[in-house]
């Protein structure tokens, strides 16, 4: 049942009780979010029904198009900054040409999925939470439940599919643009020719770097969608609640991107 009854724990009087209440509520929220994720995953089997297919395509479009402009700029500049900073350091050893490796490896392993995750969380995730939150407040979700139409299948599943597939694609796009940005800085600021840059870039990037980066992107996509949809569905208290849900979505997804990013790196690069 998505339509939430209000919290049964009433605000505690002393700070310790309040802390305990917060912990309990957070744990319960996380549990509910995971249950919803499981539920949405099961619903993926319906993705090819015509109505769901349309909703999913729409989500692909929204996820891809909405964020493409920002991603382009952020990706270029991330690559440029990486190239400039490492290039200046490497110049002291006369090894500027190694910016190729430095930029590519850090983008593919870490910065690519990381930057894409942050942008998607801020643009797509927040919009998702706001939309679902508004639907809760205006009783649209309750109306769906009354009609026995599963809101998770109808609303969460298409978003989950779209984000999980779009995140790696956008990450690849970020990586490519970032590497190009690095090359531009190399050529214009550091006197590293494009050719030398790309040769050097190819030298040290392994397939594993690629897979780990894409794995991160997928995990980020799933987390952002789960956080956004769960926060949206948990909205209460009218328009104020929608604002809160949006803000929480951005904060929690940022944290998720950081923490999961670190954990995946830790597992694959010991």
């Amino acid at each position: 049942m998505i339509t939430r009854e209000p919290d049964q724990f009433e605000p505690a009087i002393n700070p310790l009780g309040e802390l305990g209440r917060k912990v309990l509520l957070t744990a319960r929220g996380a549990g509910r979010a995971l249950i919803m994720l499981g539920h949405a995953t099961l619903a993926i089997r319906h993705v090819f029904h015509r109505r769901n297919r349309r909703a999913t395509m729409e989500q692909f479009f929204i996820t891809g198009i909405k964020s493409l402009g920002v991603i382009t700029i952020v990706a270029l500049f991330t690559g440029m900054i990486l190239a400039l900073q490492t290039g200046l350091e490497l110049r002291r050893f006369g090894r500027e040409v190694n910016i190729g490796t430095a930029v590519t490896v850090s983008l593919v392993r870490e910065m690519g999925p990381f930057m894409t995750g942050l942008i998607i969380a801020a643009s797509v995730g927040s919009a998702m939470a706001a939309q679902l939150g508004t639907m809760v407040v205006s009783e649209e979700i309750a109306a769906l439940e009354v009609m026995s139409i599963d809101p998770v299948r109808m609303l969460v599943m298409p978003r989950l599919v779209a984000l999980t597939i779009m995140m790696p694609i956008l990450t690849v796009y970020t990586n490519i643009l970032g590497v190009v940005g690095g090359a531009i800085v190399g050529e214009t600021q550091l006197g590293v020719s494009m050719r030398a840059y790309f040769d050097n870039a190819r030298l040290y990037v392994t397939n594993r770097d690629l897979y780990v980066g894409l794995l991160k992107a997928i995990v980020f996509g799933i987390s952002i969608c789960t956080v956004a949809c769960h926060q949206g569905f948990s909205t209460s208290q009218g328009a104020v609640g929608v604002g809160q849900a949006t803000r929480r979505t951005v904060i929690i997804s940022f944290l998720a991107v950081l923490v999961f990013g670190y954990m995946i790196s830790r597992i694959f690069y010991k």
Partner: protein
């Protein structure tokens, strides 16, 4: 046996007992009107009837089914008997009017798409919305949205319909048209309706019985004829607030009907 029964339903919301041991019995084929001041728990009562809220104590029965304890498929089966009009219409904003109305048919029946739209269109025509079928809810006035919500509520031919303020925000002529529709559904199809409203004139016109909710309990239930003569202080203040005296409006109604 009554079709809808509340047994000592208690529900705590926002730190107070919104329903405090509410008892209620609504018969099949009735149009039961629920009155009460703002915040008295009318919408909460409707939500309990359709299983959107569960009581903290007590039970809600729909015929032989206990909706307050049903889950999953069982709950879905009971809900199939209902249509509901929400206070703010609750239409899906990204779907056109006709898509909204056809949605339950498309999702819950095996009807071919053309047939579903055909049926949806018929309901919309019934409510005078034939011109608006391709519009988005955001482009409609509040009253029109409400009528679309009503069309959606009746499209599955439910046996019980819950109306949360069906006529608030509507002009008087449209309001009376909605009243007539509710009355029609009862007369012709024997549909049971529960109507929450602030509009006493409409209540007196359509109700078989009127109930007043106050401090979490039903404090008065009466047929319209007796309702206007009630000695209950709250009832009197309701009536007087809408300029209905012990004789006036009731006799007016006699005259018109």
């Amino acid at each position: 046996m009554s079709l809808i029964r509340f047994e000592r339903v208690r529900k705590r919301l926002g730190g107070r007992d919104v329903l405090a041991g509410l008892d209620l019995a609504i018969e099949k084929g009735e149009t039961f009107v629920l009155l009460g001041s703002s915040g008295s728990g009318k919408s909460v009562t409707l939500r309990h009837m359709i299983g959107l809220f569960r009581p903290d104590e007590g039970r809600v029965w729909i015929g032989d089914d206990c909706i307050s304890e049903a889950r999953g498929r069982e709950l879905e089966r009971i809900r199939r008997r209902f249509g509901m009009l929400f206070q703010n219409a609750a239409l899906l904003q990204w779907m056109t009017v006709i898509e909204n109305v056809a949605l339950p048919l498309l999702e819950k029946t095996k009807l071919p798409e053309s047939e579903a739209y055909e049926q949806a269109l018929r309901r919309l025509e019934l409510l005078g919305l034939a011109d608006a079928v391709e519009k988005l809810p955001a482009d409609l006035s509040g009253g029109m949205q409400k009528r679309v919500g009503l069309a959606r509520a009746i499209v599955m031919d439910p046996e019980i319909i819950l109306y949360d303020e069906p006529t608030s925000g509507l002009d008087p002529v449209t309001s009376r048209a909605i009243d007539r529709l509710i009355e029609d559904l009862r007369r012709r199809l024997g549909i049971t309706s529960v109507v929450v409203t602030h509009d006493l004139h409409s209540a007196l016109a359509i109700a078989t019985r009127i109930g007043v909710i106050h401090q979490g309990r039903i404090v008065e239930v009466a047929a319209p004829r007796d309702f206007v003569r009630s000695e209950n202080e709250l009832v009197r203040s309701f009536l007087e607030a809408q300029y209905i005296t012990r004789r006036g409006a009731w006799e007016n109604r006699e005259g018109t009907s």
